[in-house]
Structures are given as structure tokens and as C-alpha cells.
Symmetry: C2
Subunit: 167 residues, 2 copies
């Protein structure tokens, strides 16, 4: 049976929720990573993915400047990096300088791949749409990369940014 409740109460049932790390190069040439829980595939042919980024976040400027971004599926071992990248602002922090995270150059865009991620997708910016306090960016996937070792993805498994793999 359904009972009407506040949104905040009902949305607690969203977990586990897959997370991604998006990387976009800002106007100073600094690659800026951000951890995001609001993401989905948006098209099959051609393949596209969507991410929702809070309007106030520095990544908005970086994505608009670069017109491209990488989407990485972080592996279960990357929980500390995901928490760091999701809790600092690229406006005043060089996140890759401050937190050790292996990277390698993207092939088709000016961005980075995360070496220990499960997979990485290089995207060119296709569209942006304002949705309340977030902006939805849709990226067209230009190149895809897979970890040469099998890895488990990282999920948010409970409120408060509790992260783990799921089975």
C-alpha cells in the first residue's frame, strides 16, 4: 500500500545509486574531476550519456569551456578519491594535485582518463538543459576504454555518501 510522504523520505529508497567521476579541462588548462550520483545513459545510437551538475559548481564553467568531458566509472577501490573529488571545489583546488589518482591522457578530447576506473568514456558536449538547481549535460561518446583487469563499480549505498561495491 502507498502512503503519501515528504519527497525527502521517499527518495531515500533510491540507493544503491551508481556514481561517476566527470573530468573537464578548465580555461587554465587544469583538468577538474567531479563526483556525480545523478547520471544516466541517454541514447543508444549514437551512444550518449547525461550528467546533472549543480548550477553553482565550478565544473559547469569547465564543461562549457572545454565543450567535452570524460565520464569514468570509478572502481570500488576508488572510494576515497570519489569522496575527495566530490567534496572540494575546483575553483580553489587543483584536485588531481592534492589527491593521488592515476590518470592517462584521453585519446580524442583534451581530458584525462582515470587509470584505475572500471571504464572511461570520452564525450563531446551535445546539449545542456537547466533543471531546477542543476544543469543536465548530454555528451556524445567518442571513445570508450575498459580496465584491463576486471573491477567492481562504486555505488552510493546509503545516505551520507556511504560508498561500496554492490553484488
Amino acid at each position: 500500500m502507498q502512503k503519501q510522504v515528504d519527497y525527502e523520505q521517499a527518495i531515500k529508497t533510491k540507493y544503491p545509486e551508481q556514481i561517476v567521476i566527470a573530468v573537464a579541462t578548465d580555461k587554465n588548462g587544469k583538468p577538474n574531476p567531479i563526483t556525480l550520483g545523478w547520471t544516466m545513459i541517454a541514447s543508444g545510437r549514437p551512444p550518449m550519456m547525461a550528467i546533472a551538475v549543480a548550477s553553482s559548481h565550478y565544473s559547469i564553467e569547465a564543461i562549457r569551456h572545454a565543450k567535452s568531458f570524460t565520464i569514468a566509472f570509478p572502481s570500488a577501490e576508488m572510494a576515497d578519491a570519489a569522496l575527495f573529488f566530490g567534496s572540494r571545489s575546483g575553483r580553489d583546488t587543483d584536485k588531481f594535485a592534492r589527491f593521488e589518482c592515476k590518470t592517462e591522457p584521453a585519446k580524442t578530447i583534451d581530458s584525462l582518463l582515470l587509470t584505475d576506473a572500471v571504464a572511461n568514456f570520452e564525450c563531446t558536449l551535445e546539449s545542456e538543459t537547466t533543471a531546477g538547481d542543476h544543469i543536465i549535460f548530454v555528451g556524445k561518446i567518442k571513445a570508450s576504454h575498459l580496465n584491463s583487469e576486471p573491477k567492481k563499480r562504486l555505488y552510493t549505498i546509503a545516505p551520507g555518501h556511504k560508498l561500496a561495491a554492490v553484488t
Copy 2:
């Protein structure tokens, strides 16, 4: 280490992926459910959710007509309904007449809630954006409902629409 592969190979790492059932009332007054794997939260204040629906699907017409839709988080016990609603077209099938699935009226829009779902969200259509072969609909959440019993959500856990709860 990352190695470049086809998109089809890399995207297999997306699972488990949470699924939803969206319900929109068509121009004949028939509520039409569709199962979707491509969905995300899109805004915190006001709360909004996004769904990506294949451009060829009947639900596109229904959502545009109704300018509203319900998003249900199906429970683990609803796998058969999710598969049925995701594999038939509302163009020639009254899905709720053909597959038994308990429903109740939505409170603020002309749509249905799924009684055995984990949660239901009533949405008014906020925007639509074309993304390749899909259309992204953003809905503003007007009412939220929770199952009075704790239930586990349904996920796609592997290619081929293999569905289960995750822990």
C-alpha cells in the same frame, strides 16, 4: 590500465542499473506503463527526475499529451510486470488490462501509482530534450509516496534484462 574498446564492450560494466516504471495517460484516457533503465534525479530544489525514452515508443505521445507522468520504483517482486511493461507497446496493447498489477489513483495528476512499488513520484512535465535516438523528459515532483512495508528495489543486474534486487 585502460585499453580502448568498442562502446558496446565498455558499457557492459554499467550493471547493476536501477530501473523505474513510468506511467502516462494517453489521449484516450488509457494509463500506459513503460519500464526504463535510463533515469536519474535531475534537481534537488525543487525535486525533479529525468527519464530517457526511445523516440519511437508510444510513451512519447502519452507523456506529451498528459504533460505529466508517475515514476515508480518497482520492488524486487515486480520483475515479471517490469519485463512485460518493457517489452510491449501501448500503441496496440492495454498493458494494465493484460498484466495484473495493483494500482491506485495519483493524487495531483491524472495517472496511476503502482501499489506494490517501493515508492511512487507524481511529476509534471518540465522540459524535453532530444538526445540521439531518445528523448529526455524532466519531471517536477508534485507528490511522493512510499510503500507502507519495506521493499527492495529492482535492478537490471546483467545484459539481457536480467532483473533482481541488489544488496
